[in-house]
């Protein structure tokens, strides 16, 4: 029982009314639109929101830098963090020097100040260049030079590296993240929880955050965070060297790499975490809750309405602009059959086929997909997409596959129904492929087909001639040994 309907500024309980459900649907649609927007952000409103957000959290106003994409945010955030740490170390050392070096210290401070003014913006500009390069010609970068320089430098610097300082700085930045979230979002969330009845809360959450999350998450926070993480990791290996050298110097190469890779612990989602904002604001705007905590939450909410991912630092806050392209399919998965699913204004882009992230050519030039390309693809989902883009019939014709075993549509093991074992002539040994249908139906009633490459030697060669043995042979212990002693031991009773 939901109990009596209560709608007071300090207490909300009881069932949602029909009128409230209508308003919640409109409210949710509004936040979905905020998450999916592709117009440029308003820099004035965004800067004001971030500065207020730091202020209500008891922190000094930061430099607010609006960057064109989450990738630039991650890179520039790491580089600028390393730069600030370097300046702090320089300052600390200078303070302990003898008075006779005062003139030098003054000069250093002056230089530091000048550099400080330019640092964040400059690092951002450079990272933008780098990100754009990565999107266009990453493969042609002089990766070897950078890696050699980094390794040499790391060896020289290792003896003076101060682990304590790093831990202290990490704690400082974590505190910035915590202070802002605790003072705004967390406080409001807790107060909202305390002021609402469980049934009302559950119904509202379903109508708002769950609905918003289902509509946006795959295309916003998930896709972007996964891709940014992958890109920053690749960037630090392949082409970040010159950038780091330019801004912090090779003695800080490793620290800067660490700072860059730490970005997932220092970011907040902005409009890409809209599902949470949708819920809290619905409690306020639709159900009428008015809590003291809403005053501080206002700055967090505005930061979510006006900007994307943000990187928090005691001295600065980098905020990503919205993408210029954000394309999804009818199941809200990132997807485009002719171009990027996501693109930001610096050119950084992502390509997806029904939620699977792929390289640009798979979408825009599928004629470039070759049999060799598919054969060497190690990710099963990407391989499936490549075959789909090439055309299943064309692929099987090109590899000249012969069917060596086939199971009936009523085979007892659901995931092996209509499975086929294919053999393709290849050096030094034949390629054996198991073709299966996904156990879970697509919404339109179809089933995805996928191929698994099989060890032809497993079970004394049975895996090369028998679908069931082939599938059983794919299940292994972490050391690579066969999990099932005999193929018939593989017998799932539930498959989805």
């Amino acid at each position: 029982m939901a109990g009596p309907i209560i709608r007071r500024p300090d207490r909300v309980a009881g069932e949602l009314t029909a009128e409230e459900r209508v308003r919640l649907a409109a409210h949710t649609a509004q936040w979905i639109a905020i998450a999916m927007q592709t117009d440029p952000c308003d820099p004035i409103e965004l800067t004001r929101a971030i500065q207020d957000f730091y202020r209500v959290s008891g922190l000094a106003a930061p430099r607010v830098v609006i960057v064109p994409s989450p990738l630039v945010m991650a890179l520039a955030g790491g580089i600028a963090s390393a730069w600030w740490r370097m300046q702090e170390e320089i300052t600390t050392r200078a303070a302990t020097r003898a008075a006779t070096r005062a003139a030098t210290a003054v000069a250093t401070a002056a230089a530091t100040d000048a550099a400080t003014r330019a640092a964040t913006a400059a690092a951002t500009d450079a990272a933008t260049d780098a990100a754009t390069d990565a999107a266009t010609d990453a493969a042609t970068r002089a990766a070897t030079d950078a890696a050699t320089d980094a390794a040499t430098d790391a060896a020289i610097r290792a003896a003076t590296y101060d682990a304590t300082a790093v831990a202290t700085h990490a704690a400082t930045r974590a505190a910035t993240y915590d202070a802002t979230a605790v003072a705004t979002y967390d406080a409001t969330d807790a107060a909202t929880y305390a002021a609402t009845a469980v049934a009302t809360r559950a119904a509202t959450a379903t109508a708002t955050s769950t609905a918003t999350s289902a509509a946006i998450d795959a295309a916003t926070s998930i896709a972007t965070a996964v891709a940014t993480d992958a890109a920053t990791f690749a960037a630090t290996r392949e082409w970040l060297g010159p950038l780091i050298e330019r801004w912090v110097g090779y003695p800080w190469f490793e620290e800067t790499q660490v700072e860059i890779r730490m970005w997932p612990r220092r970011y907040q989602g902005g409009n890409m975490w809209a599902s949470w904002e949708c819920y809290l604001t619905a409690m306020r705007d639709v159900l009428g809750l008015r809590l003291p905590e809403h005053r501080a939450y206002d700055a967090w909410e505005r930061a979510a309405r006006h900007g994307g991912f943000r990187y928090l630092h005691p001295q600065f806050c980098l905020v990503s602009d919205f993408p210029s392209i954000l394309s999804i399919d009818d199941r809200h998965r990132p997807h485009s059959d002719h171009g990027p699913s996501h693109q930001w204004r610096d050119g950084w882009a992502l390509w997806h086929w029904h939620g699977v992230r792929v390289d640009q050519y798979v979408i825009e030039q599928p004629e470039r997909i070759t049999v060799a390309d598919i054969t060497t693809e190690t990710n099963a989902e990407v391989r499936r997409v490549k075959i789909e883009r090439m055309g299943y019939a064309r692929y099987l014709a090109e590899v000249r596959a012969t069917v060596v075993d086939e199971l009936p549509a009523d085979y007892p093991v659901k995931g092996l129904r209509s499975a086929r074992l294919l053999q393709v002539a290849s050096d030094p040994e034949p390629l054996v492929l198991l073709e299966c249908l996904n156990a879970t139906l697509e919404p339109d009633g179809t089933q995805k087909r996928y191929l698994l490459s099989i060890d032809p030697h497993a079970y004394d060669g049975q895996a090369a001639h028998n679908c069931h043995a082939a599938m059983a042979s794919t299940w292994r212990r972490a050391n690579g040994s066969l999990y099932f002693e005999r193929p018939e031991h593989y017998a799932p009773t539930i498959e989805t």
């Binding site: 990710n379 212990r477 009773t493």
Partner: protein, 101 residues
């Protein structure tokens, strides 16, 4: 025995009636590299028991059925048991590598 995509749960023993370990965060059995989708059971319903070269196990305990979820697969109820968690491997150019989606 339960299969959900590239995740397989093989029951090997009863979970018992005593206090069984329960993770305070979702336990993620596999995570897609290119989709970000996870095969997971919710916090408080299951926990990893062992993870080593020869064995990888989880437990669903406390008498409560857990739900194995994934965005692209139907959810599966998982009854209280201790489960082996073999991984799915493919064979390419004479080498084995783990299947990821």
């Amino acid at each position: 025995m339960i299969r959900q995509g590239d995740v397989l749960l093989v029951p090997v023993a009863d979970a018992g009636t005593g206090n069984t370990p329960r993770a305070d965060a979702d336990i993620v059995l596999a995570e897609g590299e290119v989709t970000g989708h996870r095969h997971f059971m919710a916090a408080g319903t299951a926990a990893f028991l062992r993870e080593g070269p020869g064995v990888r196990q989880c437990v669903v305990g406390g008498g409560t059925t857990a739900l194995l979820r994934h965005d692209e697969h139907d959810p599966v109820p998982v009854v209280p048991k201790i489960y082996d968690l073999p991984r799915q491997y493919e064979y390419t150019a004479g080498d084995m590598h783990q299947v990821t989606d």
